[in-house]
Amino acid sequence: MAGEESITCRHAITTGSWPRGMEETREENGWRAASTPQLRRSREFVSLENPGRLIGAAILIFLGYFFGAQLGFALTFKPHPVSVLWPPNSILLAALLLTPPRTWWLVLLAAFPAHCLVELQSHVPAGMVFCWFISNSCEALLSAALIRYFTEEPTRLNRLHNVAVFCCCGAFVGPFLSSFLDAAFVALNHWGGDTYWEVWRIRVSSNALAAITITPLILAWAGTANAPRQATSRVVLLEAGVLAMILLALGFILFDWLTPDTDVALLYAPLPLLLWAAIRFGTRGATAAIATIGLFAVWGATHGHGPFVEHPARESALYVQIFLSLISFPLLFLAALTEERKETEDVLREREERISLAAGTAHLALWTIDFKRGRSWMNGVGRDLFGFAPNEQLSREVFLARVHPEDRERVSDAIDRARNASQHFEIEYRLQRESGETRWLISRGRYTRNSQGQISELLGVALDVTRQVSANLELRQQQQELARLSRIAVMGELTASLAHELNQPLAAIASNAAAGKRFLAGGASIDPTSFREILDDIFTDARRAGSVIHGIRQFIRKGEETRCSVSLDGVIEDVLQLLHSDLVNRATSVQKQISVSLPAVQADRVQMQQVLINLIVNSLEAMQEVAPERRRIIISSDHSNGLVRVAVRDFGVGLPEDNPENVFNHFFSTKAEGMGMGLAIARSIVEAHGGELTAESLSDGSRFSFRLPAKPSVGQSTSG
């Protein structure tokens, strides 16, 4: 029992079948529309979980079998008991295919009383009744088992594979094999006057015909697998009604009204209607149409009407069977093909809808251009963004026309490269909208080629990144402004030192000028060489004062950063000159360990000065409490692996033990008056230059190092 339960569970998982109640809730919530056809197909077993349903199913099977048999009797040639169509076995097969194997015993149990009732009515001996039930059950079980084995459960006739398996196993192998048993039972019971092979042949053909007409009808209409996916519109219902009316009328005219000498060609008259049913209404339409025509044909033939009555009963029966089988087989295949196509279309549509929904939610523009068919598609978000009319044909030209003129050539080149190499492309560019507004976009795309190597399709996606781009721009401007303010703040702290730096040359100029004036005023003959020396010195000092002012101006100027080739050695010299007074004032010695032939870096000179100043000022502050003789800064530079490194090492208080990285946080400061911005700004500048700034704690101080990518030297390929 436990084993059976576990099998049931596994089955439920693998087929994805849902308990009934749950399934209904899902459908109520609109899940059904979103569920995949795969899921929908696999929820098809008629659930027999609760006793009420079990009894209902049993009664249904009983009635089906009983009336099927009655129908079989009704469709028998009189006076010869030759049944053209024997439905009970097909009904049994349909019931087995609709229910899980573990309830098959119930199906057989329900059919048995119906079988007995029917057969006993016909005064068949009890032994024969029982034997026939065995052979009938054997046929249904054999067919059902084979069909189940070769198709994914549960079997429905909505795909070609399933129809093929059904036709082979249900309409051929099952009746073919079981009829040997059936004929043997008849012979054993000495029932009727036919020979073994006559019984076998009649039974094969009538059961096969029933299997090909009755079973598909039940399978198609019992489950929801072949039901239309959308609610049927009135037009479709009307169409179905018209088709049914014409079919009934034609069936009546053809098989009841016409006389046997009618032209055989008229037998093809239902064909257009059957094709209509199969193509427009799938398996349900095809099976219903086949059943209708079949019923008329058999009814007419067995009641002396229509084109099949001219021959002896058995031959007539055979002709009807052949006629019906020949139209049923292809029609079932055609219906399955229609269903498969519909399903594929549904899957594609669902997928497209899902992608469109996702793309819409993410504000992604999606497009495809099918070069072979000359068709293009773009979702609504994309058409809104690019300003394409809903049905406007897409092409590279109309796309490029919307790209900002400055970016057009670059975008076109990128597309060319991707096209030639069949590769992905990714381009960031500006879009110029009709309103004149500029948007920043990132487009990714891919060209696909067919088996002949020709470009077949372009798939693309574009994302509007304007907000991010402008946010980045704003952030950069803010960072630049912050850095500038921080430079001004540093200058403010250094005012006294800077004044000293300026006053020195100014004092020398003033004294020299005064000396010259006095020489002249004294009237003494003056040596021109000495006088020239005075003027030279004045000039030199004026230049010196000018360079101090220039340095300050450069340092605090407002303006765009300009990156160029910068020698960090030069930056170190600049900064030491600028900080000279302060270093003197703080009695701090500086030692330089500069690597020869340090490569240049691509950077903004002022920002590099700022980094170094902030690091040196930080070192000076770290050594405030240190004894004067130990106040020392070592500035070193070197390069390796394409990186230029500059380090500032001090002998101060070191880094906070718990979290050394804290020093890089804004507003982290150990000083009461400090803003704690210096190191954070230094790090943001270094990182903006593609480098890194790190701090390490040493036993007697700390070392801050920044690394920047070295600029490739002249003669070296810039791309390499």
């Binding site: 000293h500 020195q504 004092a507 004294s511 006095r518 004294g522 005075i534 330089k592 004067p628 003789e629």
Partner: protein
């Protein structure tokens, strides 16, 4: 309230600045009109251009100048020679002018001291004055006032000598 110890004068004690280590060797002894070493004025500033300019300025008045760029050299000189007037810069790399002044007053109490600085700092002026500086100049200074101060100092020296 003069400074009690040299530590009070170490506003920022000296330390080596190797990148400024190019020592100035300015020979001022060959200046024209030099009368005697006793008459000479010593100037201490680690900035060579200042040293040169002050030297020129005083030379126009016929005042002999001996320039020093290193405080240690200057203090060593003072140990052996009589220095009537000393002009000291405050902010130097190796030692502040106030330290030099403090030591100088111990070595040569009669030397008249003039202090000059590149940055105006009231505290420095006060300390220098308390230690006996007769004049205090913030660079750039007025040449007339400067020369006049030097002359006053020289006169004071002579007066001191004649008093002796």
């Amino acid at each position: 309230m003069g400074p009690r110890s040299i530590g009070d004068l170490c506003l920022q004690p000296y330390s080596a600045l190797p990148f400024l280590s190019g020592k100035l060797s300015l020979d001022c002894r060959k200046m024209p009109g030099e009368a005697s070493t006793n008459e000479s004025v010593c100037v201490l500033d680690d900035d060579p251009s200042i040293l040169k300019a002050v030297n020129r300025l005083l030379a126009t008045e016929g005042i002999m100048v001996r320039g020093f760029s290193d405080p240690t050299d200057f203090l060593a000189f003072v140990q052996t020679r009589s220095v009537p007037v000393a002009i000291l810069d405050v902010w130097m790399a190796r030692m502040t002018g106030l330290e030099v002044q403090f030591k100088l007053t111990r070595i040569s109490p009669h030397t008249q001291i003039i202090v000059m600085t590149g940055r105006g700092d009231p505290g420095v002026k006060q300390t220098a004055t308390e230690m006996g500086a007769i004049a205090f100049f913030v660079k750039p200074f007025d040449d007339e006032e400067f020369i006049s101060a030097v002359r006053t100092a020289l006169r004071a020296t002579r007066a001191g000598k004649s008093d002796l």
